[in-house]
């Protein structure tokens, strides 16, 4: 599966879970709302029921008071309740519209109450028309004395009690449902939150592990490649990182192939230089010999100008030979394997000086080290630099100095002279093969010596620099690895 798909999937899952969580919470809170509305309703119903009950009882008390005292003042609350009660009934019947049990009870209360009003009204009006005394007496004796109203009142009270009891029960149920739905909401929220956190954490850890481990592998491969080690990275997944590592492998293979090709070409070139140099020497030798023989055989007969011409040939041949030998040396550096042995640089330098430095040159050699290194190449570097110091040295009082300065990882050698010096504009040019700052017929200047030095030092990741001003001598300073 693609990496981006996996990441997208992880995030989508988290988002979907969040949405579901929100929806569930919303639904649960709706439920809570509904339950709390029910509760409020129920409280109103109870309150109303209380008011209604009280009004009815007030009426009954007022009625009894009036009958006993015959005082009209008692009838005031009777009439006000009589006016108020129908409104209360109406309100209550609206509230309990959806509850048939309540409605039925309320209706029967209404009926009983109406019956009581009829009874009370008949007694009051009878009492008020006292002229017809017998009627009131009859009523009082047949109904009031027989507890007719009292019975009705008791029935109404019973109905109210039933009504309230029922409503209390309903309210209890509602309250329980409400607290249940609140705790349910909490539980669901916690569970969903936990699941989301778990999935988020797991997918994050999974992706981080998946990516970082493989990226580390690729970094390792890149590091290897930079060290010339063309390894491959193994990745058998099938995503973007896999295509990246595949590209890395292709790059590694291509680099490897190209480097091998380059090495092969380089070897061929060295071989070529060696063979060509060797084969170029043979015909030169022939020309040289024949010129000599002509000179020997015709010594007496040669005109001075012809002698001069004949002398030019060996000069130029010697120069040609110098070039070929230089090329051979140049090719040899690459062909010959480095061989480490203990080298006393004092002895090495002394031998070179004895070999190529004329006796009239003033030589100063500082303290030079002794260590295990590639003798052939160090010798080539010193002999080329010292021979340059001789070639381009001062004509009058030639002086050559060789010194060493020890650094943590390198030795820094200096070969200096008091000769003609080099213009700073040419300081880079002199290390390029066949570059010589001398005229072309100067026999000893082939332009290969410093190129060989540079190549040897480059191969070992060492450096060389020159400090020089025209007329003030030159110092060649190069580093050489201690091991």
């Amino acid at each position: 599966m693609k990496l981006s798909t996996q990441i997208l999937l992880g995030f989508s899952l988290i988002i979907v879970l969040s949405v579901v969580n929100s929806y569930v919470n919303y639904t649960l809170s709706q439920q809570v709302n509904q339950n709390s509305t029910f509760l409020t309703n129920s409280e109103t119903i109870i309150r109303n029921s209380g008011r209604l009950n009280k009004s009815i009882i007030d009426m009954q008390s007022a009625f009894r008071g009036y009958l006993l005292t015959d005082d009209d003042d008692f009838l005031e609350p009777y009439y006000s309740s009589l006016k108020e009660i129908p409104t209360l009934f109406k309100e209550q019947s609206q509230l309990v519209q959806e509850y048939p049990v309540h409605r039925q009870r309320l209706d029967s209360i209404k009926v009983l109450h109406q019956e009581w009003i009829d009874y009370a009204n008949s007694l009051i009006s009878a009492k008020k028309k006292l002229g017809d005394k017998g009627d009131y007496e009859t009523l009082f004796n047949t109904r009031f004395r027989k507890q007719f109203g009292q019975k009705l009142n008791n029935q109404i009270s019973d109905k109210f009690r039933e009504f309230d009891r029922y409503e209390y029960k309903v309210r209890q149920v509602r309250r329980e449902t409400l607290s249940e739905s609140i705790s349910q909401t909490n539980t669901y929220s916690i569970i969903f939150l936990g699941v989301i956190i778990c999935i988020g954490a797991i997918s994050t850890i999974y992706i981080v592990r998946l990516i970082s481990k493989r990226i580390a592998a690729m970094v390792n491969v890149a590091h290897n490649i930079s060290n010339g080690n063309f390894v491959n990275v193994e990745d058998n997944q099938n995503d973007e990182l896999t295509s990246l590592s595949t590209s890395l492998n292709i790059m590694s293979a291509t680099l490897n192939k190209n480097i091998r090709e380059l090495e092969k070409r380089n070897n061929e070139l060295n071989q070529f230089a060696y063979v060509v140099s060797h084969d170029l020497k043979a015909p030169l030798r022939g020309i040289y010999n024949v010129t000599q023989w002509i000179e020997e055989d015709l010594q007496t007969e040669l005109s001075p100008s012809l002698k001069r011409y004949l002398n030019i040939i060996p000069e130029r041949i010697a120069r040609m030979e110098g070039l070929i030998d230089g090329l051979l040396d140049y090719a040899r550096i690459a062909r010959e394997k480095p061989l480490k042995e203990y080298v006393d640089v004092n002895i090495l330098v002394r031998d070179i000086v004895d070999d190529i430095v004329p006796k009239d040159t003033e030589i100063s050699i500082g303290r030079l080290p002794g260590f295990a290194t590639d003798k052939l190449r160090l010798e080539q570097v010193f002999s080329n630099l010292i021979s340059n110091a001789v070639k381009y040295g001062s004509a009058e009082h030639p002086r050559i100095g060789i010194d060493c300065h020890e650094l943590p990882k390198f030795y820094e050698f200096t070969v200096s002279d008091n000769g003609i010096g080099i213009d700073p504009g040419y300081h880079d040019k002199i290390f390029v093969i066949f570059q010589t700052l001398r005229e072309k017929n100067a026999k000893e200047s082939t332009g290969i010596g410093l190129a060989i030095v540079k190549k040897i030092l480059d191969d070992q990741h060492c450096s060389i620099r020159v400090e020089s001003e025209p007329g003030h001598g030159s110092s060649f300073i190069f580093t050489w690895n201690k091991n």
């Binding site: 020497k281 030169l284 030798r285 022939g286 040289y288 010999n289 024949v290 000599q292 023989w293 010697a318 030979e321 110098g322 030998d325």
Partner: protein
């Protein structure tokens, strides 16, 4: 007096002339035969097409030659009853130890390594002259 016979086995014309000039400087009487490789040399020695073979006093032998090189030629020579005692001098540019050892085992009278570096061409001629003065002159003088 019978002239001393020298056989030069050498493929390089230049070296042939070099040898001729050095021999001339010895100021002796001699008869010089020339072969350009081992096969030709054996033909000269054993005779061909009605010609008699020659039995030289000295063979001057190059090692690096086409068809049959110096070492192979020397082996053939040492197998031949008539020729096995002929004095052989090696003249070569090869400084290889193996060549030298092999030649020594087959019995040689002298071994000259021609200087390879020809800036020393003077040295080369000189060394050839000196070699001839030292080794060949005595033989030719007898």
């Amino acid at each position: 007096m019978k002239k001393n016979v020298i056989l030069l086995v050498e493929d390089d014309e230049l070296d042939v002339i070099s040898v001729q000039r050095s021999l001339k400087k010895l100021d002796q009487e001699y008869e010089l035969h020339n072969a350009y490789n081992g096969v030709e040399a054996l033909e000269l020695l054993r005779g061909r097409k009605g010609h008699d073979g020659i039995i030289p006093d000295v063979i001057l032998l190059d090692l690096n030659m086409p068809k049959m090189n110096g070492i192979e030629f020397l082996k053939e020579l040492r197998k031949d009853e008539q020729l096995k005692d002929v004095k052989v001098f090696i003249m070569t540019t090869s400084g290889e130890e193996t060549d030298r050892k092999e030649a020594d085992q087959l019995g040689i009278s002298g071994y000259l390594i021609k200087p390879l570096n020809f800036t020393d061409n003077r040295k080369r001629t000189d060394s050839l002259d000196a070699f001839f003065q030292f080794h060949i002159r005595k033989i030719l003088a007898n």
